[in-house]
């Protein structure tokens, strides 16, 4: 399945958002996720099925003004 993660095209075997995050090595309490511009809270990641063409954002705390 072809998806876009943080602006980069990727191919994944993962069925859910949680699978994808494990596959890419994203782990940590501090991450925020969205699929196709909809927020996906941490407990929902295992139920968030991925579909071809999904646009996924995985964001992290960063410095800011």
């Amino acid at each position: 399945m072809n998806i876009i993660v943080n602006g980069e095209a990727l191919e994944t075997k993962g069925k859910t958002l949680l699978d994808l995050m494990a596959e890419l090595g994203f782990e940590g309490e501090w991450l925020a996720t969205a699929v196709n511009n909809q927020i996906v809270h941490k407990p929902e990641r295992s139920r968030q099925a991925l579909r071809n063409g999904d646009r996924i954002e995985i964001l992290s705390p960063m410095e800011g003004g």
């Binding site: 993660v5 943080n6 602006g7 890419l24 090595g25 994203f26 940590g28 309490e29 501090w30 991450l31 925020a32 996720t33 969205a34 511009n37 909809q38 927020i39 809270h41 941490k42 954002e57 995985i58 964001l59 992290s60 705390p61 960063m62 410095e63 800011g64 003004g65």
Partner: protein, 257 residues
């Protein structure tokens, strides 16, 4: 004490966490200035990266209030989504709402700002809107549910200082009961002091501190200037006069002829 959405803080300085030469310099700037609120953002993490986690730990260890921003957002939907993602990570309803309308000046897109503020206030956010010094926009933001206004005094990062003191003065007079925080454009401690003398409740800074040769010392300089400006306002400033007024008593002066 300054009260922001029922949270009381002693320091009237809010400090950004970006562009410091090193994380330890940021720590030192926060410590020396005794600021109690810092701003942060959300950005894409590299796959497998731990940078964000380490940064978050460092901020948490400071023991300050965290004010996440929506920096870089240009639309209502982007800002609302970013705010929700920030709340899920930082665990706070506070959000510094930025919706940018112009790439060169980083001027707020005030129409989208009001709409995003309305949506976010309805979702329980405590919105700190980065806005212009326009009174009507300020009124719309309060109607949208904001309990704080954060007008710019010059473009973000410009260090120009207050470009329109009369507009800032009008804003203070027009919103006597709303906490007003000058956000953006401050370059020097004297700029911060000038707006505090107008009766502004606080100042939000980043580049002027982070970009200094000695950021920690500059943070202290700003904290001192902000406090002095506030004390000057509370003490009651003299209005300027056209003519000289002798300070030494004239009565009893010896006459030598």
């Amino acid at each position: 004490m300054l009260n922001l959405y029922n949270t009381s803080v002693s320091s009237r300085m809010l400090l950004g966490t970006a562009r410091y030469p090193s994380p330890s310099v940021l720590d030192e700037a926060v410590r020396l200035s005794a600021c109690e609120i810092v701003t942060v953002s959300l950005r894409r993490e590299t796959a497998g990266g731990k940078t964000g986690g380490a940064f978050f730990e460092r901020i948490r260890a400071m023991g300050v209030h965290i004010l996440p921003n929506t920096a870089g957002c240009h639309s209502v939907s982007e800002a609302v989504l970013t705010a929700n993602m920030a709340r899920s990570v930082f665990g706070t309803d506070w959000i510094k709402l930025e919706v940018i309308g112009n790439h060169d000046t980083l001027q707020p897109e005030v129409f989208a700002l009001v709409e995003a503020a309305r949506i976010l206030s309805g979702e329980g956010f405590k919105v700190f809107p980065y806005t212009t010094d326009d009174l009507v926009v300020g009124e719309r933001l309060l109607e949208a549910g904001c309990g704080v206004l954060m007008p710019w005094c010059a473009p973000i990062g410009s260090a120009m200082g207050p470009q329109n003191l009369n507009a800032l003065r009008s804003m203070r007079a027009h919103f006597p009961d709303t906490p007003l925080i000058v956000d953006a454009g401050i370059g020097r401690p004297s700029h911060a002091m000038a707006v505090m003398e107008l009766g502004y409740d606080a100042v939000l800074l980043n580049t002027a501190v982070a970009g200094a040769a000695d950021p920690a010392l500059m943070a202290l300089a700003f904290a001192t200037g902000i406090e002095a400006g506030r004390m000057g306002f509370e003490a009651g400033l003299l209005e300027p006069r056209d003519m000289a007024v002798p300070s030494t008593p004239v009565i009893g002066q010896a006459v030598f002829t």
